[in-house]
């Protein structure tokens, strides 16, 4: 069992980068790895509660909650969230909020880092 940390940046609702990250995280957990996920920039949209599941959009909420239940740590960038008007009470249960240093600290112990920086 090794540790894999994701950094997901600037991903959009409607693009598939968040889908990719959560599916790859799922596959990693299934293989017994410890997973950490950092959501920053526009990727903090993922952690907003109350998203209505339309068929036109992929809906990662269920997968995210299952990942957390299986021990994955999911943390959103607090400043990025506040700037978009997402407050503590808007955040899904189980999702942590932290400042960017949380992500930097993870780089020390994690075996691999997959930093998805594009849009």
């Amino acid at each position: 069992m090794a540790e894999l940390t994701f950094g997901v940046f600037s991903s959009l609702v409607g693009s598939m980068s968040l889908d990719f990250s959560f599916r790859l995280a799922d596959a990693a957990v299934a293989k017994g790895h410890k997973v950490n996920i950092w959501l920053s920039g526009n990727a903090v949209m993922m952690a907003k509660k109350g998203q209505k599941p339309f068929k036109d959009y992929s809906y990662n909420e269920k997968r995210m909650k299952e990942l957390i239940a299986k021990g994955a740590e999911v943390t959103v960038c607090e400043a990025c969230a506040e700037a978009r008007g997402y407050h503590k009470e808007d955040t899904h249960d189980g999702v942590k909020r932290a400042s960017m240093d949380w992500y930097l600290a993870k780089t020390v112990k994690t075996d691999r880092l997959l930093h998805i920086g594009g849009e």
């Binding site: 090794a2 894999l4 598939m16 980068s17 990719f20 599916r23 790859l24 799922d26 596959a27 990693a28 299934a30 293989k31 790895h33 075996d111 691999r112 880092l113 997959l114 930093h115 998805i116 920086g117 594009g118």
Partner: protein, 99 residues
């Protein structure tokens, strides 16, 4: 270094990929990056596939959602699943680069 490079765009806006060297490089085509595996623009392979010494992989889900199948994939490129990508990252390469 042994690096797993992810390409997720068809029209790329960086040239780091062309310049980067590695002892071992795996190029994992995901998202719109899959078009490098299936499209011959003006009859030619994508220049991405001419990266010397690299191994090429394409995520099958991202290929299929765009209407392509194994039959369309360039013979240089191997189809992989999410699980395979986890193994590539964790076992075959020591760092990743999402370009």
């Amino acid at each position: 270094m042994k690096v797993a490079v992810f390409l997720s765009d068809w029209r790329r806006s960086e040239d780091t990929f062309e310049r980067m060297k590695a002892d071992k490089m795996g190029v994992i085509l995901v998202g719109n990056g899959i078009y490098h595996a299936v499209t011959k623009e003006n009859g030619k392979d994508s220049p991405v596939l001419s990266k010397a010494g690299a191994q090429f992989y394409v995520l099958s889900d991202d290929l299929e959602i765009r209407g392509y199948t194994a039959a369309n994939v360039n013979s240089k490129v191997k189809m992989v699943s999410y699980g395979d990508i986890v193994d590539l990252i964790m076992k075959d390469y020591d760092k990743t680069a999402w370009l």
